[in-house]
Symmetry: C2
Subunit: 222 residues, 2 copies
């Protein structure tokens, strides 16, 4: 049993209030709840390192994560390559470091899980200048935006890692009762309304017959 429970986990808490958590953990039990498995993100690994360095014992209770729950779409988990993250492009910042990773996965016939950007508690640039934080409304990248950015990057890089006809699977609200899974070529998924967040996207690699049967259940009607 845990003596104290901290039940709200967000990035602000981990990054700005870790000191407080660790201080309290020195002489009490502190529970820290997160969405998904705690080790999907470096932030939590860092928290464990700091706790251990302070001599605080850490006990981890694992949970389902997008990294394994994505198996529900029918592609075998052991046929995925490196997972990538797609950040929101801005006018001036359009990073494409994920492109080479997708290309490597595709060359090996592996599937690519694309985690899509989540922007919560982002201070506005204006408020940062003024020194008093005002937050932007939360934004969650949709499958549509992700594909649109992917196609833009393919056009720029020109490595034929994938294209408008590449088979993908868009997944929304994975694990919830109203989850939505739609498979189809990128160009067709561009127009599918996946509804509320969270979304993720899989770029399909080489498939086996059992995988194909599962994909068929989710295939977009043409």
């Amino acid at each position: 049993m845990y003596g104290k429970e901290i039940t709200v986990a967000d990035r602000e808490m981990v990054e700005e209030r870790a000191d407080q958590m660790l201080r309290e953990a020195a002489d009490a039990d502190v529970a820290f709840l997160v969405v998904g498995d705690p080790f999907g993100a470096t932030t939590h690994t860092d928290l464990v390192v700091r706790a251990k360095n302070m001599g605080v014992e850490v006990k981890v209770i694992h949970n389902a994560s997008v990294m394994n729950a994505v198996g529900v779409c029918g592609l075998q988990l052991y046929r995925y390559g490196e997972t990538i993250s797609i950040p929101f492009f801005t006018e001036t910042w359009r990073p494409d470091s994920f492109y080479e990773k997708i290309q490597n996965n595709r060359r090996l016939g592996l599937h690519t899980l694309c985690l899509l950007d989540i922007r919560v508690k982002e201070p506005t640039l204006e408020s940062l200048c003024r020194g008093k934080k005002v937050y932007e409304p939360p934004r969650f990248m949709s499958v549509n935006t992700a594909i649109s950015q992917l196609l833009e990057v393919e056009e720029l890089c020109g490595g034929s890692a994938y294209g408008a006809d590449s088979l993908c699977i868009g997944v929304a609200r994975l694990g919830s009762d109203d989850q939505k899974i739609v498979a189809g070529p990128m160009k067709k998924l561009l127009d599918v309304d996946f509804g509320p967040p969270l979304h993720c996207l899989i770029i399909v690699g080489e498939t086996h017959p059992v995988e194909e049967e599962m994909i068929e259940f989710h295939m977009i009607k043409s």
Copy 2:
């Protein structure tokens, strides 16, 4: 709520009694519990395909899996390449198809999760010949056996994918109170007693500072 619960899941049940489960599911709720996440194995995907083809609605409740719980050893989940399985070698069957996959992961600087063979309810060859099944005692591959087989394959293939000095992390009983995690070069882990099953092994790729700090907690004393 589920009307009928089938609480024991083993390979025999899925493979030999799937028909019975599906038949009962036609007019009743049937729950099927598995260890880990249901989509770690093709067997369960196939069960879902068959159910859907029969018009049986399938609801999946996800769970932690070795595929994400392995994050506890400190290596970032999105820095893993393709997962491999290492089967028990026999006198006449010494497959090495995993070698090329490890090599590909290492070239990309990625970590490799090695799932180790589990042999339960394996009929003896003799009993198969006689037509009446007698089962061999269960066997679970240890980290030590896995490394020994890996080194044998490296010697045969000679591709320098890894070697006796390659950094690995052996994990036993992941997620349980007495889990054991030891990091070190392959040759040193060969002699570590990891205790009872289940074991798995990670061949470490390129590491980042936060990963290195975590590995340090588990590093074998020389």
